[in-house]
């Protein structure tokens, strides 16, 4: 049996403006957030949203409905966004390695103790989401490779399950979890270098 969303997609593909508007209303914001999350650029994100909805209209008739429509749309969005970013990779998207924790042979994290116990998590959100802290976070997100940003947005912004993120980007659950963890660790590290230890 055809789902409500599947039917909307078929109708939009058949030229039904009200079906297209319903799909835009349901998915436009999500597509934009993901597109912007990957590209970090509003003009690029707008073009991606256009491309994704055009693909829905042009190819939606071929959608077989085996996967959830949401996953299919996220997957198309991710592919379009990553293609758009191809060749535009900036120098700032450097290796994450220098932002990941390092370990002693006995399994303890290495580094000065004052840094290891630095806990800035109790600071007010108003402080952490403005000024210098926000700038650090914005830059840290910019520095992530786009595949990592895709996972971060789908999991932490859109709050999908790991399985749904994996289905949306066409990768394994274990790869999703690895990227997510590395992305969060890198952001945490860069914030901690700026915010802690308290002096």
């Amino acid at each position: 049996m055809m789902s409500d969303e599947h039917l909307l997609l078929k109708e939009a593909a058949g030229g039904d403006a009200s079906a297209l508007e319903a799909l835009m209303s349901r998915y436009g914001s999500r597509v934009y957030r993901l597109a912007h999350g990957i590209t970090r650029n509003s003009a690029d994100a707008e073009e991606i949203v256009q491309d994704v909805f055009l693909q829905m209209v042009r190819k939606g008739g071929a959608f077989e409905g085996r996967a959830a429509l949401g996953s299919w749309i996220y997957r198309v969005t991710t592919n379009v966004a990553l293609n758009k970013r191809r060749g535009k990779r900036r120098e700032v998207e450097t290796s994450l390695e220098e932002c990941l924790p390092t370990w002693e042979a006995d399994g303890h994290r290495s580094g000065p103790r004052a840094f290891l116990v630095a806990d800035w998590s109790g600071r007010p959100d108003a402080e952490l989401l403005s000024g210098e802290a926000r700038r650090i976070l914005e830059e840290a997100i910019d520095r992530l490779p786009e595949h990592y940003r895709a996972v971060l947005v789908l999991k932490d912004v859109e709050e999908l399950t790991n399985e749904d993120v994996a289905a949306s980007i066409g990768d394994s659950v274990s790869a999703v979890k690895t990227r997510l963890h590395r992305a969060r660790m890198a952001l945490r590290e860069l914030l901690t270098r700026r915010l802690g230890p308290q002096t």
């Binding site: 209209v57 303890h108 998590s121 932490d156 997510l180």
Partner: protein, 75 residues
């Protein structure tokens, strides 16, 4: 369980996805390890802050442009 083991489990721990016995072992470690407690607290906070900063909504005027663009092509 050592700090490196704890770190490797955090992504599942903050999702509440660890088996109870593994979560209990991790929490036992946390109780005696200040660096891991600080790491977990800042990891959780980073997740929340990152979600808010990475969430950028489509501007209303862009939404109107998009609607116009698509309806023209549909016609």
């Amino acid at each position: 369980m050592v700090c490196r083991d704890v770190n490797g489990l955090l992504v599942d721990y903050v999702d509440g996805a660890l088996p109870p016995e593994v979560a209990a072992a991790l929490e036992h470690h946390l109780a005696g390890c200040e660096p891991c407690r600080a790491y977990l607290a800042t990891y959780r906070k980073t997740r929340a802050l990152g979600a808010r900063v990475a969430r950028v909504e489509m501007p209303d005027e862009m939404r109107a442009r998009l609607r116009q663009f698509l309806l023209e092509r549909l016609g």
